[in-house]
Symmetry: none
Subunit: 274 residues, 2 copies
Amino acid sequence: MTPDELTHSQFDTVYNLLSFSIAAQLFTAIFLLAAQGRVLARYRQAVLMSAIVCGIAAYHYFRIFDSFKQAFVTTAVGGRGTYVQAAGQSFNEAYRYVDWVLTVPLLLTELVVVLALARKLQNSLLYRLIPASALMIGLGYPGEISGDNAVRNVFGLLSTIPFLYILYVLFVELTRSLDRQPAAVRSTVSGIRYLLLATWGVYPIAYIIPLYAPHAGAAAWVVKQGGYSVADILAKCLYGLLIYKIARVKSTADEPDFAVREGVHTDQRVRVAA
Amino acid sequence: MTPDELTHSQFDTVYNLLSFSIAAQLFTAIFLLAAQGRVLARYRQAVLMSAIVCGIAAYHYFRIFDSFKQAFVTTAVGGRGTYVQAAGQSFNEAYRYVDWVLTVPLLLTELVVVLALARKLQNSLLYRLIPASALMIGLGYPGEISGDNAVRNVFGLLSTIPFLYILYVLFVELTRSLDRQPAAVRSTVSGIRYLLLATWGVYPIAYIIPLYAPHAGAAAWVVKQGGYSVADILAKCLYGLLIYKIARVKSTADEPDFAVREGVHTDQRVRVAA
């Protein structure tokens, strides 16, 4: 629940966090778009998708930022004053779900696509990951917009089932298909899965805060906004940059000419081949 | 502290300075993006990063510009009048820190990446420069938002420690790895370090103005905004263009074909080889 009142510093902190997220996501998108030529053609789809995910997220943060600014008005006549909720406006928190329902299936697709697996295996993974992720977010939404804790509980639990299934596919099924990947790719994929686990873990924690700390107040709410922002930056920007790294490593491993042209250092080439 | 009142000319001066910064940063970013193909593939990462830094800075100056415009309202009923602070609005000066925490680690990374050092040496430099620069900015922030001079003093001093460490790494450690660089690169790197020293020196001066001249008034504040803007333009745009120059010089030195294709003049080629 959005708090009724924020201090001037709390308002500024959320303002800065949301704008920081816009900057990180927008410029990661631009970087990845501009850098697509720096991987072999076969890996460009994954890099482009990473760019699009960051771009979509940046667009939604522009909306979240505007919604936040409109939801609060200053009480100050002179001096700094505090911020209270504007009549008839509310900070549209559920808006984040619109972002996630677009970006999360794309994030999972990027990861599968950049590995350039056999077509049959790739489709098998995608036909399970994409519906599961859409279900996970779709089931979370009714709980998020409900003011009723029982409803929030039920949908939170339901949403956890596809989440666990996604983890199963990523950590068990995907592992079986990593044998043929270069060593540096295996370790980056491993890192990327833990990044997903750690950042996606922030969302259920933020989701249950209203259940177990309904009167946590404005300070807890500011922390929650910070948690969402940082998790979104890591799960989109850092994740996208790691996809780019995998694409670079695989390009280097696939074609020695690429490594020479791109000036990849000999020690790195040896590490890739290991 | 933002002054309570600005004359019409003072308001216009800050307005113009902030807009000038947007123009310089936005179009340096566009230039560098468009020019990435004019260096060898191995140096494009550094040029792209320079473009991204200028882009991020331009985005933040748009926000700073908006914050400035909203923070002041005219007193004029007829005639020109003056500008006073709008109720409940304040010019969000701490916002600059959001920009720096993204751009400063990237600026240092560009410099290391464009030199195309051995991977081990590159990582060793980055693992020290990036955390130190994040620490420098993170420690400055609590002092900047505090109204208490003692707090401002303590955090200012703490922030100076990582700053000095960065200078040590750049001026002592980096120097050892410049031996294998072309002569023109050595002198440009040397120039770029002094540019960093000179422009970064503006920030602590602006930081301590409220400590030692608390009643310096609106005119001093306008000078401070000018100092920040010029320092940001030099530290991002000029710096980025120098990174581009290093990338061009190294491309020419690496491949004679590149020099011919790009029509680099013979005397310049000779100078590079020297």
